[in-house]
């Protein structure tokens, strides 16, 4: 017994080092910077500074756009996940490859690619012009940012949902049909509730990076759409105000954890059976 514990401790050691160096230490550092002023004295000034209308507006926009992107990802991703998990679609492997292939490419590269497609003299506008249609300003607006989020994060929505749908035993769905359930009833009373764990991890994996992204807003938003990630980046990289940047990071972290907690609470309650 004792030997076993020792073995476990030894096996855990590399992981613990990893966690401490890459997660615990940075979080402590962020907390330190956020909670001290320029003289290294404890102060809440950095936090106080955040609660101004212009910062709050940016934060609100970040949450809203990330939520919008999450909802779109869910609406687009769920049917794809169902098709992947089903039997009727014959070219499943091809679809999976098409979905995964972009993920092999660097995130920045992918976003740059859309820049060349969408910009003023980009591919799409050239096509539009050759058809005699007016040029469109695809970039520099909210739509472009949300599009960028959906494009980049969609696979993270599809695959957890796909996994949880394909884990539903086939005979459970057959049992529902056997008891008189049509496709609609089977979906709403069996497939959807049983795929909630997949939906939750999909939502988390889209919403969290969505709230904190700054690359997408800078590239596709042409710098006109400021998100909270942009502000954090500015504070660290350009303004040199690490204390304020750290404070915003902590606030975002708390907000995200709160959101996730709410979502989980909500899903627990949803286990009460629908009529």
């Amino acid at each position: 017994m004792k030997k076993n514990n020792l073995l476990r401790a030894v096996a855990l050691f590399p992981f613990l080092i990893w966690i401490i160096l890459l997660i615990v230490v940075p979080v402590i550092l962020i907390a330190y910077y956020g909670l001290t002023n320029a003289d290294g004295v404890f102060s809440l000034d950095n936090f106080r500074q955040f609660f101004q209308p212009n910062y709050l507006r940016v934060f609100g926009r970040s949450l809203y756009l990330a939520l919008l992107a999450t909802v779109i990802c869910l609406l687009v991703g769920y049917p794809i996940a169902m098709i992947l998990a089903g039997n009727t679609f014959k070219r499943k492997t091809l679809l999976v490859v098409l979905l995964i292939a972009p993920m092999w490419m660097n995130f920045l590269l992918r976003t740059y690619a859309w820049l060349t497609l969408l910009e003023g003299n980009g591919v799409f506008n050239t096509i539009l012009q050759s058809l005699g249609l007016p040029k469109q300003a695809f970039l520099g607006n909210v739509n472009a940012v949300v599009f960028g989020m959906v494009y980049n994060f969609l696979p993270y929505m599809i695959f957890p949902i796909y996994t949880s749908i394909s884990k539903i035993p086939k005979n459970i769905i057959e049992a529902a049909k056997d008891l008189g359930g049509g496709n609609v009833i089977c979906f709403f009373r069996i497939i959807l509730p049983l795929s909630v764990p997949g939906i939750l991890s999909g939502v988390t994996m889209v919403f969290v990076p969505g709230v904190t992204t700054f690359v997408i807003s800078q590239f596709l938003g042409s710098g006109k759409i400021t998100l909270i990630g942009d502000i954090i980046e500015q504070q660290f990289m350009h303004a040199g105000n690490w204390g304020f940047g750290a404070a915003i990071s902590i606030i975002v972290m708390i907000a995200v954890v709160l959101c996730m907690w709410l979502v989980n609470r909500f899903s627990d309650d949803s286990e009460v059976i629908m009529p």
Partner: protein, 346 residues
Amino acid sequence: MGNHIIDLQGICKSFGDTKVLKDFNLYIRENEFITLLGPSGCGKTTILRIIGGFEQPDEGRVLYRGEDIVNVPPNKRNFNTVFQKYSLFPHMNIFENVAFGLRIQKMQESEIRKKVMHALEIVNLPGFEKRYPDSLSGGQQQRIAIARAIVCEPEVLLFDEPLGALDLKLRQGMQHELKKLREELGITFIYVTHDQEEALTMSDTIVVMSNGEIQQIGNPVDIYNEPQNRFVARFIGESNIVDGIMHEDFRVRFSEHEFTCVDGGFAKEEEVDVVIRPEDIKIVSPEDGMLRGVVKNVYFKGVHYEMVVSSGNTDWLVQSTLMEEKGKTVGLSIYPNDIHIMKKCN
């Protein structure tokens, strides 16, 4: 017994290149407990799934009270299935599991409550409404699956090896309960199993299948006592199968001895299979026996002893409540009634 409730006519079904069913014909009468019995891969589950509507036959018709229902989806058929692996809904409690079919019928809440409670009483699990499936044992889950199926008051209940995952004791208990349930409900049961004892215990009619074809249809006693061919004799219970020659009607020769039997209608000197159940061979003194042999092995089986008696080129399996010493020379005696003559197949 009543009229035909289901008629299967000329059913063919292939999965890829494998022909699972070849021109399968069977009728099922109202209020019958019919069992499809056969080794795995014989097509019995496919038949059940075709009746349930989960599988479409490539050819042939499925008639329900004379009407072709091949294109009717499972949710529109008044049949309910008890699946092999319970298949309860894991996210619903027992009440909601059982109430599932009734809610789809948009029944009144008070009516649903009454019916669910009654169904839980029938399967002997009252008070389980609030529990979730994963907190139940295998036997309890299977009973809930039965409750969920009978609560919809179907005209036909389909069972796909429902007791396969249970241990022996539980299985035997459930067999008796199912038989009782059938008598109480007075509806048609179609039961699929590979367990011959289960089939013999419960059924009114047994359909023995192999390779997608019916080998024999009959009541349990006939199937056991009068197997029509070597396959059925092998599959149902244990038996001695030896080569014999029919001299004339009621006279058969095997193991270098001529016996009187009760079968006739074969050609003169036709080669036949002779089937003798191990419990039908009597051990007598060597002088009184029709055959003489040496006891080669003795196994204790609880109720009886099983002995292998070697006589000439044949090893006879003999069951008796009395044990004989290994190595002893004994006589074997067989009554004409117990000699079953079958046409050679192949």
